[in-house]
């Protein structure tokens, strides 16, 4: 028999990540098909997802969250074409770096379109909401181009 050269095992580690008060409101906003953002009282920069402090001015950010447009601009995108263990979506799928037109931050989300040519840097996209929403990021199923 061949010598034993390795040992196989598997980790499956459970977590529960708290949203905290502000993100709870943000995700509740998603459930209601709204983008709720925060604005730093000092520099005026708008963050989506919202934050309860500004990491640059280093001040607490309080007060009500503001509802902003759900339209975003594609700053860049990629089509993932490789597989890896534990991948949650089968490739290929397109991921975009999206900037809400009324915020100063960017986030990543899935982008889909029947017309792949419509996925372009600079293109405007809007969320496609799930029917059953639970108050999490994937209440947005994906983003699609805004029809002109």
């Amino acid at each position: 028999m061949k010598p034993v050269t390795s040992f196989e095992g598997r980790l499956s580690v459970p977590y529960h990540w708290h949203y905290g008060k502000v993100l709870s409101e943000f995700f509740e906003g998603l459930r209601n098909r709204k983008f709720l953002a925060s604005k730093c009282p000092q520099c005026g920069r708008v963050s989506l997802p919202p934050t309860s402090f500004c990491g640059i001015c280093y001040v607490p950010v309080s007060g009500d969250l503001m509802s902003i447009s759900t339209v975003c601009r594609i700053d860049t995108f990629t089509v993932v074409r490789f597989k890896y263990p534990g991948q949650l979506l089968p490739p290929p799928y397109a991921v975009g770096v999206l900037k809400p037109v009324e915020a100063d931050t960017r986030f990543h989300h899935l982008v889909r379109s029947e017309n792949l040519d419509a996925i372009n840097i600079g293109a405007a996209v809007k969320p496609v909401w799930r029917e059953e929403r639970e108050g999490e990021f994937f209440d947005i199923e994906y983003f699609e181009p805004v029809e002109k």
């Binding site: 040992f7 095992g9 980790l11 580690v13 459970p14 977590y15 529960h16 990540w17 708290h18 949203y19 905290g20 008060k21 502000v22 993100l23 934050t51 309860s52 402090f53 500004c54 990491g55 640059i56 280093y58 607490p60």
Partner: protein, 363 residues
Amino acid sequence: MKNRIAVTGWHESRFSEENAAQSTPEMIFEASHGALRRAGLTREDIDTVVVGSCDTADGISISNVYSVGASGAFLKDESKIEADGSFALYYAVLRLLSGSFNTALVVSWGKGSNFSRFHYWTMQWEPFYTRPLGLSHEEILALQARAFCRRTGFEDKHAEEVLMKNLGNAEANGNAVRTLRGIQCGARGEMAAEPLRDGDLTPRTDGACAVVLENADRASRKKRIPISGFGLSTSTYFPFWRDLSRIASAGEASSIALKSAGWAIDDVDFFEVVERTPYHEAMLAEAMGVGLKDYLGGEMKRINLSGGALGADPEPATGLVRVVQAAKIIAGDCEKTANRVLTLGTSGLGYQTCIAFALGEAQ
């Protein structure tokens, strides 16, 4: 290291067993922002930030990816030590001593309600010989406690006295998550791994804490709490290869810290140590040279005025919490005041590595 570095600010976020109102970055911001305020500094005054945290606890790899803004590290020279927060303090002290930086913010956190303590510990066992046995941490803590009892005559009743002492002390610590008042009789609960009972293990805790360091010549005399010495030592990996009945790393770390401060053990007014069980507080007392007399039916007055980790254990931040508690004692924020406090933090299975800080004026 006579009076070269001083602690000038500190803060703990609100600790609780489960803090659903705050995300991890929000806890970090509360602690860091509070420590700067206490030091009378702003973020601009800080030269470097060192964080102490653990990806496995955060459930996020390179978790400081999301803590830079919260920890005040935006565009700062930042680094991360993956260990108990007091090891981050060590690295920050070295950074200041090097002369490259004058001020540092040290931040550590743990959100016990977000992760499984079993996985956090079982993943510390190597995959071939020990992890397949389904081990967590308490088995080795139990074996150490057993061996300690066998050698010293320390008994179950003594362990109960330590637990009650710490939970009693925790009453005065507004940030403890477990106190004497909050528990019923039979507080020690059911047997977990002999001789440890459920209540001998530390409570799950969410919390963050932060410490501001300044070069002593920069800090005003009134506000500073000098770090007069520090010491670290490490043992072999397998806990069962060590003398189970002793925590050698703690003894070596504290004796190096005392020597660098020029203190004798009796010069130390109080100790703040990370005791993962009541038995381990006695083991640490013995290792550090405090002696066991007080722990075998005497009065245990010198260790863990704060209630220790048995009162709140936001691992892996617990060692830095000890430093914050020591600063509070010296600054006069607590019922009792003192000039010199020795802290002890630890990382690894069964106290594999320990770190001690001598806080207060050097001799």
